[in-house]
């Protein structure tokens, strides 16, 4: 085991660096640039029961130190993910992959998870109950402890793979939602999904995004994400995957000190497609300078004393 290895819900991963869902497709675009097998794993594009086009464009807007997106879960649907995307993915990535799942009803979550459970390459199910860009699903499940627990409980019934619930920051008490997921059987939680936001075009006097609102990500949200990872780490005993604006090796260490067992990198991939490789390469030297032998030793390390 290398210095970067860590455990994620019972599966040993070589590195805590995990590209986040929606910023890494199914891996092919990045596999053209570097060997993506240096990653711990990656979370593939959010998958739903039925194919989805997503929202009209514009889907993207610039913000101070970040961006808004309102893609709206564009994906080919779970059946085609299994028949087309996973076989292609397996040619460029040889490790267990994280399957990101979304839905518009509990039944949809269950059906999609059950199908992905049968796929050998799927290591974890990351269940997204926090997408802010769809109506009547997504985030609405992640903003109440009861519905978050219900999705967790029902999904757990149909899979033997570790279930990681992806949580929304658009709540008053994210630790309470995390606790509800843990009590319902979740093997881990990941946070944060994007923060709901908006920009207007002052010339047209209209929202820039066709969906009007979108999810804010990028360095702007890092301190918000870090605080939430900190609170959730204190509240639960299952692994916490930290994400939100992480864009350097220093950010990774900070997230892990706050309590993250592994760290997802999202929008930084879009502005620097090599960022996950750079962070992976930068980590050992940074660890040397900070007196860290093995990265897993620092998880939650800032909570001591």
């Amino acid at each position: 085991m290398g210095r970067l290895s860590t455990d994620l819900c019972g599966i040993e991963i070589d590195s805590p660096i995990i590209p986040a869902s929606g910023t890494f497709g199914y891996g092919y675009e990045y596999a053209e640039l570097y060997d993506i097998n240096i990653l711990g794993t990656f979370s593939f594009k959010g998958t739903t029961k039925e194919p989805r086009f997503g929202n009209p464009t514009p889907r993207i807007a610039e913000t101070p130190s970040g961006m808004l997106n309102a893609v709206g879960l564009q994906n080919p649907g779970v059946d085609r993910v299994i028949s087309e995307e996973l076989p292609r993915l397996s040619k460029v990535f040889g490790k267990p992959v994280m399957a990101n799942v979304s839905g518009f009803s509990v039944d949809e979550y269950v059906e999609t998870c059950a199908k992905l459970d049968s796929q050998e390459q799927v290591g974890w199910l990351e269940v997204n109950i926090s997408c802010p860009n769809v109506h009547g699903g997504g985030m609405s499940f992640g903003t109440s402890a009861d519905s978050a627990a219900e999705v967790t409980r029902e999904v757990k019934k149909v899979t033997s793979k570790p279930v990681i619930m992806k949580l929304s920051p658009n709540v008053t008490d994210i630790a309470a939602i995390a606790r509800a997921c843990e009590e319902a059987g979740a093997d881990g939680v990941s946070l944060i999904n994007t923060l709901m936001g908006m920009r207007l075009d002052i010339r047209r006097r209209k929202p820039i995004l066709a969906n009007r609102t979108g999810g804010l990500s990028g360095p702007a949200v890092f301190p918000v994400a870090l605080r939430m990872v900190w609170d959730v780490y204190k509240a639960v005993s299952i692994p916490v995957v930290g994400m939100g604006g992480v864009s350097s090796a220093e950010d990774v260490i900070e997230m892990m000190l706050a309590g993250a067992a592994a760290v997802e990198i999202g929008s930084a991939n879009l502005t620097d497609p090599y960022i996950c490789r750079k962070i992976t390469e930068d980590l050992p030297e940074l660890m040397d300078s900070l007196g860290i032998e093995n990265i897993k030793d620092i998880i939650g390390g800032a909570h001591n004393g």
């Binding site: 610039e62 913000t63 564009q74």
Partner: protein, 244 residues
């Protein structure tokens, strides 16, 4: 796609709000007309996609219009400044369909990508006709450059202050073999209606990544969902889903 550092050699205004920037760097793998580069700009999060106007040796020419913070910041950059570019993005125009007498239709900042295309088509010995559309006479750029390539150039202006009064669609000749176009969407829609042959359209969209990962710029086409940045920006006329 490749990430490279380029150095600005030249950055000057060539028309109102319109700038020409020459950059020096590794131009390998970017000689397909109609492709674009994605530029990192200090102080902004997202890169800015700009179409390639010309590539010669290690020199890359871009023409851009100042439409927001990114392009305004670019217009203030000076010679010697270094920029991080993602290069070789997008599919580009398919030259094999041109036929003997292709027609190129460009409107405003849709004109630049047609320059490298015209140069390549001329190298292949094609008879190239170009229609360049602008709002007013003072906005015209690159008329001479296209002429010097040996293209037959017609200019249109909306207010009639130069060339033919009207739009590029008012200057379409009858006997062309195929067409290539780039410009604002209302112009592209008009071109689709006004043309009798097949052709290729280059599109613009707000992008997240520029290389196909984020699904930020997807559009519906006859042949399914296409990412403007990766499966485009060039689409064939027959693929486009516009109700007439």
């Amino acid at each position: 796609m490749k990430e490279s550092v380029f150095r600005i050699k030249e950055n000057r205004k060539i028309a109102p709000l319109t700038f020409l920037m020459v950059l020096e760097g590794d131009c390998a793998g970017m000689d397909r007309p109609g492709q674009f580069v994605n530029i990192r700009i200090e102080g902004l999060f997202l890169r800015r996609p700009i179409s390639v106007c010309d590539v010669r040796g290690d020199e890359l020419t871009l023409i851009y219009k100042t439409v927001g913070k990114g392009t305004e910041a670019m217009s203030r950059m000076s010679r010697g400044q270094e920029l991080s570019l993602l290069t070789g993005l997008g599919n580009g125009y398919d030259l094999t369909k041109a036929g003997d007498a292709p027609l190129l239709l460009g409107g405003g900042v849709g004109v630049p990508p047609l320059y490298l295309l015209a140069r390549k088509l001329r190298q292949e010995g094609k008879k190239v006709r170009v229609v360049l559309g602008f709002n007013r006479a003072d906005e015209i750029f690159f008329e001479r450059e296209f002429t010097e390539l040996g293209c037959e150039v017609t200019v249109t202006t909306v207010d009639g202050s130069a060339g033919i009064q009207g739009f590029v669609t008012d200057a379409i000749p009858e006997d062309y073999s195929y067409f290539y176009t780039c410009g604002p969407e209302p112009m592209l829609r008009a071109v689709k209606k006004a043309t009798g042959t097949s052709g290729q359209f280059s599109f613009e969209e707000r992008m997240g990544c520029g290389f196909g990962a984020c699904m930020g710029c997807t559009c519906r086409t006859v042949t399914g969902y296409k990412r403007i940045c990766k499966d485009g920006p060039v689409l064939e006329k027959e693929e486009i889903l516009w109700e007439d």
